[in-house]
Symmetry: C2
């Protein structure tokens, strides 16, 4: 734990994957696992695993493997999944509705407390038990409840303006689905841009390669 400050973002980006595999092991009541076994399950080398996990303490014991619970709990702590950041969602169209219903926010460190849209056909309806409010209520809502994270499921054209407003209302973390790279102009916020199309284009590239290799 004492080493935590020095962990590089590239190691951090692999942690959710460890989290998922360890979570699976726990549901199967597996208490210990060797780096070799974990390596086979995860499809990465055992030495990479040892290197990654050594970054944040001593969880392995020569010949006994890793203590699954300890490792899982430490990864949860590092990722901050117990924080429950108060979160609002902007945009309750198809994508917003899917994200709201599909994601288990509570387990991932977020607590969805408000949903906003400017479409009169969805305002007043409920989503996951939360009444959808008009965008004009954002300021008063943020003033009262102090959310710190926002999920943007709005079109590209309105993303930057909405982001600027939300920073002003106290939001510091953005999960952005708007097909627009937020954050480049704002060093004081943190943004995870989700570009679903990017992974689809990579799939296209890899399919092409695979077909050529088979020939």
């Amino acid at each position: 734990m004492q080493k935590r400050d020095k962990i590089s973002l590239s190691v951090i980006r692999r942690l959710p994957r460890y989290y998922r595999f360890l979570d699976d092991l726990r549901s199967n009541d597996i208490l210990r696992i060797s780096s070799r076994e974990l390596s086979e399950r995860m499809g990465i080398t055992a030495s990479q695993i040892r290197q990654d996990l050594n970054c944040f303490g001593e969880f392995g014991q020569q010949g006994y493997g890793y203590n699954v619970d300890l490792l899982y709990n430490e990864i949860c702590k590092i990722l901050g999944v117990e924080k429950g950041y108060k979160t609002i969602m902007i945009g309750a169209g198809n994508l917003g509705r899917a994200i709201a219903t599909h994601m288990n926010f509570g387990r991932l460190g977020f607590n969805l407390i408000g949903i906003f849209d400017n479409n009169e056909y969805v305002i007043g309806k409920k989503l996951m038990g939360i009444e959808i409010l008009p965008n004009e209520n954002l300021e008063s809502f943020c003033g009262e409840y102090n959310p710190t994270a926002a999920i943007l499921c709005i079109p590209k054209d309105s993303a930057q303006e909405m982001c600027d407003q939300l920073i002003h209302f106290g939001i510091i973390g953005f999960w952005n689905f708007s097909h627009y790279d937020l954050g480049l102009l704002n060093p004081n916020i943190v943004v995870e841009n989700v570009h679903l199309g990017d992974s689809l284009m990579i799939l296209s590239y890899r399919m092409q390669k695979q077909m050529e290799d088979v020939k």
Copy 2:
């Protein structure tokens, strides 16, 4: 182009980002751009850009910058976005519906031709003009239309079994939203697993860091 075979997957993974920025430049009728300008817009170093783009030919001219159209077209070719792979979607629940309506498949190299579900309440309904068919029709549909890509929007528990079936029916590319790491056991297929939760956990980590740094 002649160099294409040697491009590493880490360069390839950056191409969709170039694609997006170049696409924006084209919509704004910008014909040429220097690596310095592109660097400022994209938030990566000019030398990284020169290195990446040199991997697949000569698009820059000293003092004149890059030809936006040429570069854009070459990236499209490398990624294979003109292929229009025949694609089916399995699972037309909240997430499947959002993906089907939200993504511009045609522009990204895919042609959605069939949607399947085993829920009697959605079978027969239309989504993006496509009638949702029962899963039991998959074999005959694949036999007739020969799709090569599948989008999985189904629960984790049924993902591996569905994948095995689809491989048997000729699918080689999977875009997988099922919270399960497909592909580890099947070296002959290509899989892009989309773990939305992973990016949310990274956001959580980075928010925590940001708040600590501000203190």
